[in-house]
Each structure stands twice: as C-alpha cells, then as structure tokens.
Amino acid sequence: MDLPLSDFRRMEVEEFDTSKLLAHATKQATERGYKNFPIVDVDSHHYESESIGEILDYMEDPVLQQLARSARQANAKSVGMLPAGVGYQDMGGRVMRYAVRGMEKTEAGVQRDIALTRRWMDAIGIDVAVMFPTPMLQLGLHPQVEVEVALARAYNRWLTERVLAHEPRIRSMLYLPFNDADAAFRTVQEFSQNKGVVGFMVTSARYRPVHHNSFMKTYALLEEMGLPLAFHAGYNWNDQTVGMMNRFISVHALGFVFYNMVHLANWITNGLPERFPKLKVLWVESGLAWVPFMMQRFDNEYMMRSSEAPALKRKPSEYMRDMYFSSQPMEMTDMAALEQTFRMIKAETQLLYSSDYPHWDFDLPSTIYDLPFLNEQAKRSILGGNAMKLFNLKLPAQKLARVA
C-alpha cells in the first residue's frame, strides 16, 4: 500500500501488525510490572463499519435493511445509512494505522474484532476492555430516528452474540437509541442480562436534553439494576457553533467536550442526582480539564441563582464529585494543573483509566502509572480497581493480559 506524502514521494507499507506498532507499550508494561495488578480500560473502540454486512443481517426492518444493503453495495463510501461527518482523525496520514489497519492479518476462525482487540490489549497490558463503536458515535445525529433505533438494535444484537459472548475480556456498555426514549428503555430491558454487558451508553452528540421526562423510566431501571449510564463524547462539525471553527484541532478540542458540558449542566441543574441518587453516571472521552471548569462555574452561579436549581441540596461540584470520569484524552502539559484536577474530581475513587485505542489520541496506562503525585495504590485503583468496583467485575487472580 502506498501512502501519499508532502511531495512527489510516497511511502510504501507492506504489512501492518498491531503487536509491532505497540512494541514499546509492551516494554512499558514489563518495566512497570503490570503483571502484578489488573488493568481495565473503560473506553476502547472497534470499527463496526468493517462488519456492517454482518450487522445488517441483524436488522429486523426489511425495508431499512434493504435500503442499507443497497446503499452499501452501490458504493461503500457514498452516502448510505451510517452517518459520516467531515473529519481528519488520521491527521493527513501521520497517524498511519488508520490507512493500513485493513492490511492486518488475523488468525483464521477467530472473529476479527476479537482477534484485533486481544492483540492490542495484550500489547498494552490491559486485562479487560470496554469496547465501543466508532462511526456509530455519530448516530445520535441521524435525521431518521427510526434508523438510529433499528441500527442500534442490530448492532447490540450482533455485538452481544458475535463478540461479547465469545471473549470475556471484552465488555461493552451498549448503545442506547436515545432519540427514542421508549426504544432506549426497551434496550435496557432486553439486553441488560446479556453476557459482557456492563452498562449502557448514550452518544453525546445529539439534540436531546437529558432531563426530558420521557427518560425517567430508563434512569430508574438502570438505577434499580445498578448498571452505570455513560455519556460518550463526540464532535459534530455540522453544529452551527462548531461550524465556526475551521481547523479540526479546534473542532476536536472543543467538540469532544461541548455536548458533555451541555448534558452535565442539564443533569445537575434539573436535580437528576437527587432524583436518582444511586444511578452511577460516567462521562467518557472528554478528558478531565473541563471538569474543574464546570465545578467552579456552576458552584459560583449556584450561590447566586439557587432558585433556578431548587432540587439541589448541595453545590453542583459535590454532585460532580460523585460521578465517574474516564481519563483519556488526559491533558498532560501542566502537571500542577493536572494534580489539582485529580484532587477536585476525587480521582482516587472516581477516575477510570481509558485508552481510546485504536483512535489517534489514545493513552497508555503509563500516562497514569508515571504520574509523580500518585502513590502505588491510587495508580492501581485508577488503572483497574475503580472500574472493577463500578462494573462489579470479578476477575481471576492471575493476569489476563499476556505481560512478561
């Protein structure tokens, strides 16, 4: 395969092997003794678009199924059923695995997502990974609500039957078709007992306020079952405000926080933590720097305008401190600020390591393990212990990842 460069040259790539790409991560795992404790990754990804043929087999509406199959056949890259926004995650080919991942060979007889996921988990030293889709992170923006519902259900069925049932190291918080509150409720009812399901996930990029009354029964059900609800960030360049930004760096930096800020604001000011005090809420892939901002901003205004958030019995930041946050992409350019953030979010119990692998801005466990201000116990909690508690994971005593 030839990759285009900045002049007449092209870079030839003959093979791609995740284990080789991550050889330095494997070395880190050995040097830091990851074999001595479990590592749980609460946010990783696969490319469900590569299995879309299989997923569509699980779609029940015959007309939508035929529409999707047809659009796919005509030209996989043309406008079809899966929304695909403008974006440059591969950074003009600089993050090479985007272009060459299709060349990677996997062992015969093993489902490809399982084979690839095991491979990078072993390379990094991760025992259990919570896996999410990739293009479907945009599905909440689909103009046809019924398509979100149908695709979500097909995906959840495919994922539980083809992936989660076969590899206990891979777990997922299943996709909630949140633009249809009843369908979201039915999704929890139907799938919560399936093997490997550790909670449910709302893709944050959407225009549906979380405080709408139609969602209360879903929150109540999740609370009763003790299953966490995650909001997975995503950008939307078609949003008018985001559309004012002309560089992907800006769209990504702000876009991946924007919707979670809106949802968190609604969640707090509408008193949902008081109404669902046992519901465990997890904010995924917005990094951490936004949280101290939200805490200070909302505490400050709440002191003046508590009449507008009358359900609250404590300051907004105190509710936020009861929530869970995934670590990646962790802002690491100012250690003092990061240390302060860890203190503010009660990282020792509320922070969950996430890699986001294989996406462009993934974080290795060393981003946590090498922090100078954490003791060994805190490192191990953030890298695995907190997630094991949150998801009620029972792991065997021996390390699952192959780490020397």
Binding site: D7, H24, R94, M96
Partner: protein, 122 residues
C-alpha cells in the same frame, strides 16, 4: 563507544530510514538530501517509535501583505518525521519537537567508512 552498522550506502537511498538496535536502545537513521541524521526511536510523548512514522514537510500558513490568510503550503526546506502513535512531529535536521523545540530526541553521530554507514551508539 560502539559503532553499529546501519547499511551499505548503495542500499540506503536518500529519503529513507533504517532502525538499528543496540541492547534495549533503538536508533532511527535517516538520509535526507545527502546527509545522515540519527535519533533515539523513543518519542518524548508516550514513548512511541518516533522514528518509524511518515516523513512530511512542515505545514505552513501563507499570510498575505495585508496579514490576511491566503492558504497553506508544505515548507520547501523543513522536513519532519512523525511519531505514528499520535502525530508528534520532529524536525529531521535537529530532532526537536516541532510543537515545542525545548523537547528533543537524543541524537547520535553517523559515520561513513567507505561504503558502510555506521551510527555511534553512545
């Protein structure tokens, strides 16, 4: 200081790179416009294989006389190599991180003896 054999000059075309190891240390050796450069293959970010990625010219904004933005171009002389893990860019001629020049990859001397290219793994 051990000298590590990198390649025969004839088998190391301009614009290419080789990775050699010495114990646990990996070194990326580049040839660019007739000169050799060698850096430790260990990214300052999260320890990725910095020398194994794509080589791309620096991207530049083109600003007009009225300070308006006219477009972008690739630099005619500044070449970068890019860590494949997350895209940190390094100046090929200095090993400095393009986004923060105070960060730098460890560099090594490259010597040619007759047809043979060596890197001095200090």
């Amino acid at each position: 200081m051990p000298e590590l054999f990198v390649a025969k000059a004839a088998q190391f075309p301009d614009g290419e790179r080789r990775i050699v190891s010495h114990g646990a240390r990996e070194i990326g050796v580049f040839q660019w416009q007739g000169k050799f450069y060698a850096y430790e293959n260990l990214c300052v970010h999260q320890g990725g294989p910095a020398c194994e990625g794509i080589m791309m010219h620096k991207v530049e904004d083109v600003i007009g006389p009225d300070r308006g933005w006219l477009g972008q171009k690739f630099s005619s002389d500044e070449m970068h190599f890019v860590c494949p893990w997350h895209g940190y860019e390094y100046d090929l001629k200095t090993g400095e991180c393009a986004a923060d020049r105070s960060l730098k990859l460890k560099s090594f001397e490259v010597v040619q003896r007759g047809e043979d290219i060596y890197v001095v793994a200090s």
